[in-house]
Amino acid sequence: MRPSFFHHLHPPTIPAAQARWRYTLGAGGTAIFLMLVLGVTGILEMFYYVPNPQDAALSVQTITYHVPFGGFVRNLHYWSAQLLLIVSAVHLLRVVFTAAYSHPRRFNYLLGLGLFVLAILLDFTGYILRWDSGICYPLVTGTNLIKTIPLIGNFLFRIAIGGGEACSTALIRFYTWHIFGITIAAVILMVWHAFRVRRDGGIAIPPPALRADNTRISRNELVRREVLAILVVGIILILMSTFLPAPIAPAMTDKPAVTENARAPWFFLWVQEMLKWGDSFIFGVLIPLGILAILALIPYVLPKPAGGDIGRWFPKSNRLAQIVVGVIALIVIALTFAMFIS
């Protein structure tokens, strides 16, 4: 069979052991598929979404209830975005727990981390675009966090939000960030990230001398597995979007009240829980950025994993990185639950 364009996007062969589901978890590929779904459904939503403060929430209601299959498309967009965060986190954990970030993939690990941050920002800005009475707490709190940064806080705030009050004038900024600014950066990083996978020698694997198993699978088989993954994820997305409607709330009234029991979106609940502890800058900005810095430094600061350990689950020479990332993940999950049940 002559390889098609899609086959050509893949290397001719890849190592069988590292092409297994139980190794990759399909997380990276699924993330790319979800980003494609997000792009397509996002474009469909743009046909009806009106980015001005008076009409935004009503246009979301129009999409949800009156555009043919509009509610379904919106649900697809919503659930793809939520799954993207989960799948990206799984991808990150897999890469750390299999020492796959090790040289020469250290830079691509940073690109991936950048993509993860962009995915979170995309989710947050998209959430704000609902512009209904449910978004005001996260908008005010989130943007006020920017202001707490010493010296440059107000400057960054103006870049992110524009002038005026968050709940009245920031919509067009968030719209542009969501649809152009962050999306273009994410597309560039995504292509770069995928390119670097091949440039760095394909999927992480021990050097030839240390390989236990030299069997490889063809790109045909790889594409077949990817198509299967796409079908499975597609079915899950369709079912979720059919039975679990995306959140929606009444349109904002003149002066939206920031109520006591307002909730951040689920992926920021852990930050909201920490904000109860005290200083907004420390708990809302420094600690999250510190965690990001720790994650970024892992390939550069921690001991280099042994060559033979690369591409295996939980190798010994990589224990410290596993513990650091594992503890961070557990703390974030615990804080999220603490806020969720409070």
Binding site: L58, Q61, T62, T64, Y65, H66, P68, F69, F72, R224, V227, L228, L231, V232, G234, I235, I238, L239, S241, T242, P245, I248, A249, P250, A251, T253
Partner: protein, 409 residues
């Protein structure tokens, strides 16, 4: 086996898409309404097509639903659509009435004073309860006179004709006398914005709907607005029992009257035939019931209709007016409750304050006719003048009429 996985998964995906299509086809088709007044589409009648139009003066094609009720006009999910409705199903509750019913084209802020129903109702004794509060505070020593200082809610009246420019909100918790506190806790359920007592006999809504949406029972709220208010609706507050000032509790009537005459008033009251035959609104005017825009300190300051309003005195005939102005308020009132076909040139009775008794007319033979506002029943009646009544001219309040004309139960 391996080769069939992809076609199998593809089949499942198609099946899932078919499910999406099937679920979508089962959704009710949205029914759009674009009221001419707002020009903004709303979809309430997708579910509420069976609701009758609330009144001829509030046509749904003109007003729609949202302008009065609020709510999310585009949402087809019941919870979201209803989430921002004003005061549940009753937008006339006084807490939201200004947003729901107000505006200079509607019922507040109009240059024509008799359209400012909201201001009149907010300041009326029926919603301020100022008389009862003043009496109780005076009786238990919290104030030294019977002037009104407090109402259920704080109100102001800048163009006062009674001298009372404002009332503060009555806060029972601020009172030191335990009786007044108990009064505040137990006796404030009669003003029109109070949640009514439990029980069929007390069934009514709040705000404008307390009177204008007569309901058959506690569970049968009706989507009706009317000025043809039957006496039964007035009875939901009036005539259902009495207050015991020693225990500061409301004592409900224990009898269950089955006839109109038994239903009328409490056993101690004296009354005449027309008082239990007519409906309350046949005699009592809108200013008496809804207020005249001024803050009053007591019911006796606003309620003024007497027997003589319609019957006159031995010396004088009742006041009459021949309708010559097509914009006379009498025509508006007759239009809202078309029980009579009022025409220019008709002569009707008017009250001492000039309010038209638009459901009456002077017959050519010198007698009078009244048409029941709620029953459309016709009643013929005569003036006192020329009758055998020997009451002196100074003793013409209704109490004196009751001396001879009261009915035995």
């Amino acid at each position: 086996m391996m080769k069939k996985t992809i076609p199998f998964a593809s089949g499942l995906l198609l099946l899932a898409l078919a499910l999406v299509w099937w679920m979508d086809s089962k959704q009710p088709r949205p029914v759009e309404l674009i009221p001419t007044l707002t020009g903004q589409p709303e979809y309430c009648i997708t579910c509420h097509a069976d609701l009758p139009e609330i009144s001829a003066s509030h046509p749904v094609k003109t007003l729609g639903c949202v302008i009065c009720h609020g709510g999310e006009r585009l949402a087809l999910d019941a919870d979201l659509a209803h989430s921002t409705m004003r005061s549940g199903a009753n937008p006339s509750d006084l807490s939201v009435v200004e947003q729901s019913c107000g505006g200079s084209n509607c019922h507040s802020g109009s240059e024509a004073e008799n359209r400012n129903h909201i201001q009149r109702v907010m300041t009326s004794i029926q919603s301020t309860y100022a008389g009862a509060i003043a009496n109780i505070r005076y009786t238990f020593g919290a104030q030294t006179d019977l002037n009104a200082y407090f109402g259920i809610q704080a109100v102001t009246d800048e163009q006062t004709a009674t001298g009372i420019t404002s009332l503060s909100a009555f806060e029972p918790a601020n009172e030191t006398n335990p009786f007044i506190r108990k009064f505040g806790e137990q006796c404030l359920n009669c003003h029109i914005n109070a949640v009514p007592r439990e029980g069929e006999a007390f069934a009514r809504q709040t705000g404008c709907a307390a009177c204008h949406s007569p309901q058959a029972s506690a569970d049968s709220k009706v989507h009706t607005f009317t000025t043809a208010i039957p006496y039964t609706q007035c009875n939901a507050c009036h005539n259902r029992g009495n207050y015991d000032l020693r225990a500061m509790t409301f004592v409900e009537r224990t009898d269950h009257p089955t006839s109109r005459i038994q239903d009328y008033y409490q056993p101690i009251a004296q009354f005449t035939k027309c008082e239990y035959t007519l409906d309350c609104i046949d005699c009592h005017t809108r200013e008496e019931a809804m207020g005249d825009g001024d803050i009053h300190a007591s019911k006796k300051d606003i309620q003024y209709i007497q027997c003589k309003t319609c019957h006159g005195t031995p010396a004088e005939l009742p006041l009459t007016k021949t309708l010559t102005d097509p914009n006379d308020i009498a025509f508006t009132l007759a239009f809202l409750n078309p029980v009579v076909d009022l025409k220019l040139g008709d002569t009707i009775l008017v009250t001492e304050k000039g309010e038209p008794l638009w459901n009456t007319r002077v017959l050519p033979v010198g007698t009078y006719e009244m048409i029941g506002k709620a029953t459309r029943q016709k009643f013929a009646f005569r003036p006192v003048k020329g009758s055998s009544c020997t009451q002196t001219g100074a003793d013409q309040s209704s109490a004196y009429c009751h001396e001879c004309h009261s009915v035995e139960r």
